[in-house]
């Protein structure tokens, strides 16, 4: 039986916790809202063993390029020597040609898996489905990554997301340049993403629209804008939304009624006979 739902109801961290605690084996497929990117994570007995992004399980050479252990040319050369397209053979060729050793390969795959999952923590909406006992294609390499540290790091990232959401609760507001920036602008280095956001700042563009133009998600745009804001370069115009309702204060618990064991046993006997 597949477990299905939406990330806005059951977060990735909760799902990983479920897989970890229940020692599940199978594939977790996450489809981002709007028919966008999809990811598939494979687990064996509660451990992450493989990840496929955009519907494709990456070859070992691609993974090693992505984690910076191989250059694109080295990967191409290894693939050219390979007779069958399996990770086992690609790995052996890397080792035989003294390009990488076994430890490098295993560590590289682990890093790739971790980064894949960390990316998914920034997805806050999208459907998921866990299919029990589905394993990755046999030709792809698997390593076992324990989920406990991953869940802790995931929690940290979720907290960061919540902090950013608290700092920037409303994305439907425009940004403006600080009139008297309280910083020495000459000493500031901006990232490419920050420059891109700055290029869109005007009274007509809301933060959400800028994110849409740049094709970045809510987490990323909040992080970029928060960085610019704390650097004193931009100001966020205040929200026009009405303030939210305050939480109700819980009332003190009333005392439970005293009911004897005899009464309970009579009720139990009666229900058994229904």
């Amino acid at each position: 039986m597949a477990l299905k739902g939406n990330l806005k109801d059951v977060g990735l961290n909760q799902l990983l916790n479920l897989i970890y605690l229940a020692h599940k084996t199978g594939a977790l497929t996450i489809q981002r809202d709007g028919g966008g990117t999809a990811a598939r994570l494979y687990f064996r007995e509660g451990k992450l063993i493989q990840a496929a992004m955009d519907g494709q399980t990456a070859r070992l050479t691609d993974i090693m390029v992505q984690v910076g252990k191989l250059t694109a040319d080295q990967a191409k050369a290894i693939r050219a020597r390979s007779k069958v397209d399996t990770d086992k053979e690609l790995g052996l060729l890397m080792i035989q040609n003294n390009v990488l050793n076994q430890t490098d390969i295993v560590q590289g795959v682990k890093n790739y898996l971790l980064e894949s999952v960390y990316t998914l923590f920034t997805w806050h909406t999208g459907t998921f489905r866990f299919d029990p006992n589905v394993l990755p294609p046999e030709e792809r390499i698997t390593v076992a990554v324990s989920l406990d540290h991953l869940i802790i790091e995931g929690s940290r990232r979720v907290q960061e997301w919540e902090h950013l959401r608290d700092e920037l609760p409303d994305l439907d507001v425009p940004l403006k340049f600080a009139e008297r920036p309280d910083v020495n602008i000459r000493n500031i280095n901006l990232s490419v993403e920050q420059w891109k956001v700055i290029s869109f700042i005007n009274a007509r563009n809301t933060i959400r629209q800028i994110a849409s133009f740049l094709k970045v998600d809510e987490f990323q745009i909040r992080r970029i804008v928060y960085g610019l804001q704390t650097a004193g370069l931009v100001d966020v115009l205040p929200s026009t939304l009405p303030p939210g309702a305050t939480a109700a204060v819980p009332l003190p618990p009333p005392a439970a009624p005293p009911v004897g064991r005899g009464v309970l046993m009579r009720v139990i006997d009666r229900i058994r006979k229904i």
């Binding site: 299905k4 046993m265 139990i268 009666r270």
Partner: protein
Amino acid sequence: MQTVKMVVTGPFSSGKTAFIGSVSEIPVVRTERKVTDGTRSVKEQTTVAMDFGRITVDKDLSLYLFGTPGQKRFDFMWEILSEGMLGFVVLVDSARPETFREARRILDTFRSYSNTPYVIGANKQDDEDAWPPEDLKIALGLDQNTRVLPCVATQRESVKSILLELLYVILENAAEEPSPRSRKK
């Protein structure tokens, strides 16, 4: 005539009315009205005040079952219904994970009213999309000791087993409490 009371709670459309209807010896006193908000796509009618069912134990004792309204805007009724209860059942629609967070909120609210025993009914286990009880327990963030039981609220035997399990938990708690005589010492 002594009466004892149990409360059946849970999110909107989790099966509370059906649960009580499966075991009540009287037609469930329903206070349902047509749904007028966005939840209409889930069901046509919903409980706006409470459901009431009864099981007569013997000539001196009756068990009353109260079902709480599921929609959030009627949650002011919850505390009134929870007064004097022996224990409570939180029903969760196992096939609708979008209601799990609400189920947890309801559980926490009821626990804040009273420290009476409770069990979780993982309802609609006959639905092919239903989450198994053990997965539901983890998804709801419940501790290992919390009893999460499979349930099909339309089946009498299933409902009986939930009520019996709750009564066993109540019995265990009653056994742990000091007797009136030992309290005097």
